[in-house]
Symmetry: C2
Subunit: 455 residues, 2 copies
């Protein structure tokens, strides 16, 4: 928070007056640039309905902090205007005793909905669903349904999908898109405009990614969330899914960069929290990488005899890491998009072996050419056995790039197999995995090629 | 293609019969598992309308190959049933002379639309927009508009946003959501249900990301694409944006992994194309990393005197790369989400300096402790000046992690400043940047601390 600098101090009331005509998402952008206490003051100066609309936007960065700064008597009326899923998101972030206090101030209906939603784990469909949807019995007509929608439109997150329920069991029978409904004859039964196919549904315990996959695959505006007996308990709308996709993408990029996901904007996250999230993986990687020091110690004798070998250690190690990082990024996405399944691992291995050999041969050739040119042009003297040194570097590169490609491509499969998200694999993690083995490959190749000459 | 294995050979006609009752997205998933010639045969056996629906899905992997395999007399009727933006996507991928031949077979209306769309560059809003939308003049009533929508519903990609145009100039006046339209009084003018605010619009030349950002920010189902005089030339729907987001995410992950984006599924991309896309960056990185060999050659004298220093080279270098990769991934996302702007670079630098120092101090301490333990417990003898070696490693780590964090965080700013997407920065690229300087930092620290003893 301390980083937020307000260039020209402006009274919150003035700012509020200036913002009152903007759309809620634009007000959110403006508030995100202010400290939470300023944002809270601005919200209080906005017309009530507009303030509720702003708090309802998931893009508002410090909503829990802002809510905690609002006078307790205003909070209840703000919260009861917001959608239940958003209230749940906010309350989830607030520490006790604030959380219980806020919960007690909700009206009975909102409190009931929030209590249900908050029970779902954070990565689940249940945690992003909303309970405000349109459902009608199969016995209704098109006209009756339209009249009903006109009445409840204001209080529903979406009216573009209408869920038609069996009046006896309450189970979901059909999902009717509004565009089909308006083409129907008002006197006809609603089933006359229902599609033939069974509606696409998702379970509340499924992961958010699953809801995103269904919405994107079937081009839906909302997917109904059902329980075991096919009762609709909520819906996930396309807006929620887009927000979840953007959040997931941020997490994936940060994880692939070799750290825990921040879950907060870079400029507003607490400094110590950020250090903690970065230091964790950095230490794990550092401790693993210490094995390289042990490996080098093991080859101390060879290093003393052929110091020239050390010159290429960084070059050779980084090539293994780079080819591994490429293969990992390819397979993370192929698995995420269901282009490749777990059982296809051997097909991938059969592609990566020739790919690794080809890429290794390309780099190996460049490496050999580099050494030959430097030697011949007199830039550096690699000793009398310079050609054997070049052969060692070239051969080691083929082995290391092959090993990197294979390790990097198999790692996402292994993670998925043991129940992790393949996207927890990171470029630094692959590089670390490959580094120790890279050193061993390099020195083993050297022992074979240089035995009797340098070693 | 050669990797596609059909476990049990089934007649295409049998498969088609089995698939006919499935939804189009499910048929697409099944076809993606087949070779293009089999997929083409299945498509021909499906009912015509269903085949068109399948070809209309952007998720169909090898649509251009499949189209080229269909008999020429059937192709025209397939293509004219598809949406213009999808036909454009497919035609764009087909090589000449096939492309001109297909274009000639289109009906005049589709050909006109395709000719317009294909002129837009591939990453632009124009390339993902559709020209099938609902527009009515400001003079119409709610009832008239609803009647019109009922008539054209089948032929429009979306009817959930209705664009209201000035009848004199044809310019966009308002965008009315269908949910508001149905709540209106049929006799009232359509403007009675229009929101007060000016509609959110995007230009056809803007990037796809901009359309995605607007749709996600304002929770829209479609954003109108306008020209300089505010005429609607097309719309981008939320489905298109989700598809574009998924594609962009794949590209970003692959680029961050240190390669050119594949643009095709891993299992179906041609082997040589894949090698080309991976080898390019791998060679660039390899050539840059060669500077490490030159740097090591420069410190040859020091290496000979203090071989013990080589033991920690991989450990120290990788720490710089890892901290850089973390910082880059953080800033790529912060810039993409507009949490940080170009002009904020110095604020970021002011955060990364203490962050780098803290993280460096943590790793440095672990490094020193490791050397002390190994020495004291007799696992390895780092020589009589072992404590100075430990001090060198610890100090170098602080410097290198600081340098890595700073370089990694500034790189995305520099890329954006010179007009590149910050997401072109990759973990291997940052690691390579940091490696050479890391070596120089390490040996410089060693020269200062060990002068007069080991050096």
């Amino acid at each position: 928070m301390t980083d937020t600098v307000i260039d020209v101090p402006v009274e919150p009331a003035t700012l509020a007056a200036r913002l009152a005509d903007e759309s809620a998402p634009d007000i959110v952008e403006a508030l995100n640039r202010e400290a939470p206490e300023v944002a809270a003051a601005i919200l209080l100066s906005l017309p009530h309905e507009r303030a509720v609309e702003v708090l309802d936007q998931p893009e508002l960065d410090c909503a829990p902090d802002i809510i905690e700064m609002l006078p307790r008597d205003r909070v209840a009326s703000f919260l009861s205007g917001m959608s239940a899923d958003r209230v749940t998101d906010v309350i989830r972030e607030i520490e006790e005793p604030g959380r219980s206090d806020l919960r007690a101030r909700l009206d009975a209906e909102t409190r009931g909905a929030v209590d249900k939603l908050i029970a779902y784990p954070e990565e689940s469909v249940g945690s992003i669903m909303t309970t405000e949807f349109v459902a009608v019995p199969t016995t209704w007509t098109v006209g009756l349904t339209l009249d009903y929608i006109r009445k409840v439109e204001r209080t529903r997150e979406t009216v573009y999908s209408i869920f038609v329920l069996d009046p006896r069991t309450g189970a979901l029978a059909k999902a009717v898109p509004l565009r089909r409904l308006i083409t129907g004859n008002p006197e006809d039964n609603i089933l006359s405009v229902a599609p033939n196919r069974r509606p696409v549904v998702v379970s509340a315990d499924a992961s958010r990614d699953e809801a995103a996959r269904l919405i994107s695959k079937y081009d839906l505006l909302a997917v109904p969330v059902v329980d075991a007996s096919n009762h609709v308990v909520g819906i996930v709308t396309v807006d929620d899914v887009i927000d979840a996709m953007i959040q997931k993408q941020t997490e994936d990029v940060q994880r692939f960069g070799g750290m825990e996901a921040l879950d907060e904007p870079y400029m507003s996250i607490n400094f110590l929290t950020m250090i903690r999230k970065r230091a964790g993986w950095l230490c794990v990687l550092f401790l693993s990488e210490m094995l390289t020091a042990s490996a080098m110690q093991g080859f101390e004798g060879e290093l003393e005899k052929a110091l020239v070998l050390t010159l290429f250690i960084p070059l050779i190690m980084s090539s293994g890491g780079n080819s591994g990082s490429q293969a990992t990024s390819l397979l993370i996405r192929a698995l995420a998009l269901h282009q490749v399944r777990l059982r296809d691992w051997w097909r991938v291995a059969l592609r990566e072996i020739p790919a690794g050999l080809t890429l290794g041969a390309i780099l190996g050739t460049i490496g050999v050419v580099r050494i030959v040119i430097w030697q011949k042009l007199g830039f550096y003297d690699y000793g009398e056995h310079w050609f054997l040194v070049a052969a060692t570097v070239g051969t080691a590169l083929v082995g290391i790039v092959l090993f990197g490609s294979l390790t990097g491509s198999m790692l996402p499969f292994i993670l998925q197999r043991v129940g992790f998200d393949p996207a927890t694999a990171s470029a630094p993690f692959v590089a670390t995995l490959v580094d120790v083995s890279g050193l061993v490959i390099y020195f083993t190749v050297a022992l074979v090629i240089l035995r009797g000459t340098l070693l």
